[in-house]
């Protein structure tokens, strides 16, 4: 029989350290749902999603019961809708968002991602229609998530799209002002977006993916923190080794759940995304892991180095534990969803500038940051441009999910609820980026040699 210590360790991870499977996400291709008649296209979309994901929630619940590991979310990602909807004669794509929302309701998932467009080099007519529809689509739906890829290492940054998205974010905030501008929490602006990410709000089913796949996102910041609590004062070699071993164990559970879900749903297994995804709950924070390494408060000098070590060690530990690792894999730093980071902002140790530096080494980017409602659109665009530049130059995925909360200013706090958490409003630069953003055009792709 497997030894007593190992069994108790697994149970402790689940019960006390909040180890869970954050999401089972079914990726569904909608490329065969195009039609010149928008109404017909949407019927095909609804039918395909509800048929493919018919048993997703039921099977997820069964696995949770049998293995005794919480599976927090069951979700769906679909082909970027701009690719599907632009075959239609429709000029307004909001109806596509509504049909996705309806399909998500029918199958019982809590989010559906893929109201998306990939515009890193330029926009088609359909891409423009989709971007224009985002504010209304996110205001009119509950479960639909949108994402736009504006840059990539091979093609540079589409600054026209960056400029437009600053305005789109402002409009989304305005249309959902009665709910603290929550629409913006469902919109990510990426560079180097990945096609198999199971996490929201940035999940979509890439065009290089199969017909239907199962991707699993794991979690477990609490487990890593707890493992480091026994390593006080030890050198970083020991810290890195401890994180690797812990990430390995966590990822093994993700692999097991992914294989089991794939078998029971008769859908091929895609990837395990071994991200440390925090929640607002005490003991489930990435910020607190960094502090456990010896920082007084997340955001002080040393934070970037600590996060770099964490992100890398998580990947190294997880890669051997799964047959296919993908998605974003690493450590997320969503401010409003991380108890330690919320605290760090409140006591003045974590600023937007430091967060930006951290995004050069974390797994994604500026995430779930609330800023004053009167932040100019050009400033939001400039924040996106900075993040895209970090991603494009460093050959990594970056994203911006920023919420200019209508009517709120510095000193206020905003409550999004649930896993989205709550956030203090963070300061942005008071100096203007207007002329910079209004130039438009493209920032060319970087040279891949002469790296320094």
């Amino acid at each position: 029989m497997i030894n007593y210590k190992n069994i108790m360790e697994t149970i402790r991870m689940i019960e006390k350290e909040k180890l869970d499977i954050r999401t089972i996400t079914m990726g569904i291709s909608l490329l065969d749902c195009c039609d010149s008649d928008g109404e017909k296209s949407r019927i095909k979309i609804y039918d395909k999603i509800t048929k493919s994901a018919e048993n997703l929630v039921k099977i997820g619940d069964e696995i949770e019961t049998e293995y005794g590991i919480p599976i927090i979310n069951k979700r769906i990602s679909v082909t970027p809708i701009a690719l599907v909807a632009q075959s239609s004669r429709d000029l307004n794509f909001v109806a596509y968002a509504k049909i996705l929302d309806k399909a998500a309701d029918t199958v019982g998932v809590n989010f559906i991602g893929g109201f998306s467009a990939l515009v890193q080099k330029g926009c088609t007519k359909g891409d423009q229609a989709l971007i224009a529809a985002i504010p209304e689509a996110l205001a009119a739906t509950e479960k639909v998530c949108a994402s736009i890829n504006v840059g990539c290492t091979k093609s540079g940054i589409n600054m026209d799209a960056v400029r437009d998205l600053g305005m789109i974010i402002k409009k989304t905030a305005e249309l959902t002002k009665d709910r603290d501008s929550i629409g913006c929490a469902k919109l990510v602006v990426f560079s180097n977006a990945v096609e198999d990410n199971p996490f929201m709000a940035g999940a979509f089913h890439g065009v290089g993916e199969a017909e239907c796949i199962i991707n699993v996102g794991i979690s477990g910041p609490g487990v890593v923190k707890s493992a480091l609590e026994n390593m006080k004062g030890q050198p970083f070699d020991v810290v890195a080794e401890t994180i690797k071993k812990t990430a390995f164990k966590i990822t093994r559970v993700g692999q097991l759940v992914a294989q089991e879900a794939s078998k029971r749903l008769q859908v091929p297994f895609g990837i395990v995304d071994l991200s440390l995804a925090p929640t607002p709950a005490i003991g489930d924070s990435v910020g607190r892991i960094l502090e456990e390494m010896g920082l007084e408060s997340c955001g002080c000098h040393g934070t970037t180095a600590a996060l770099a070590l964490l992100n890398d060690a998580v990947k190294k530990g997880g890669i051997m534990a799964s047959s296919h690792v993908g998605g974003l894999s690493g450590a997320f730093i969503p401010v409003s969803e991380d108890e330690g980071m919320i605290h760090a902002v409140n006591i003045g140790s974590l600023s937007l500038d430091k967060l930006e530096a951290m995004t050069a080494v974390c797994s994604v980017g500026i995430d779930m940051v609330a800023v004053p409602g009167d932040t100019p659109a050009a400033t939001l665009s400039a924040i996106i441009a900075d993040e895209a530049a970090i991603g494009v130059i460093n050959n990594k995925t970056t994203g911006v999910r920023i919420i200019p909360v209508h009517g709120k200013s510095l000193g206020d706090t905003v409550e999004f609820g649930g896993l989205l958490g709550h956030a203090p409003i963070m300061a942005v630069s008071k100096f203007s980026s207007d002329d910079f953003i209004s130039r438009g055009g493209r920032i060319p792709a970087p040279v891949h040699s002469f790296k320094n």
Binding site: M1, I2, Y4, N6, I7, M8, E9, T10, I11, E62, T65, E66, Y67, G68, I69, K249, R252, V253, Q255, L256
Partner: protein, 89 residues
């Protein structure tokens, strides 16, 4: 299918009986038992075979949890693979 049942709580008379009575009712075979007592804290781990089980897994789990409440102990049942996958390569 095999599963591990873990029983954790303050030691008292009748814990093993309370759990095995449920298992007997539903034709669940006990393959191995290990238990430890640390001060007043009792931990028992049972490996069980569910091949001949006459109830579905979810109901067995709920019945064991209810028995746990009667005994004031925490009782869990989990598929053995979660432990194997985490601790063996």
């Amino acid at each position: 299918m095999k599963a591990f049942i873990t029983v954790i709580g303050k030691d008292k008379i009748g814990i093993i009986h309370g759990v095995t009575a449920v298992l007997k009712n539903y034709q669940v075979n006990v393959l191995d038992i290990t238990q430890t007592l640390l001060q007043e804290y009792f931990t028992m781990i049972m490996l069980v075979d569910l091949a001949a089980m006459t109830i579905d897994f979810k109901e067995l789990k709920e019945t064991l949890e209810a028995a746990g409440q009667d005994l004031d102990m925490s009782i869990r049942i989990q598929h053995e693979d979660i432990f194997h996958s985490m601790h063996t390569i």
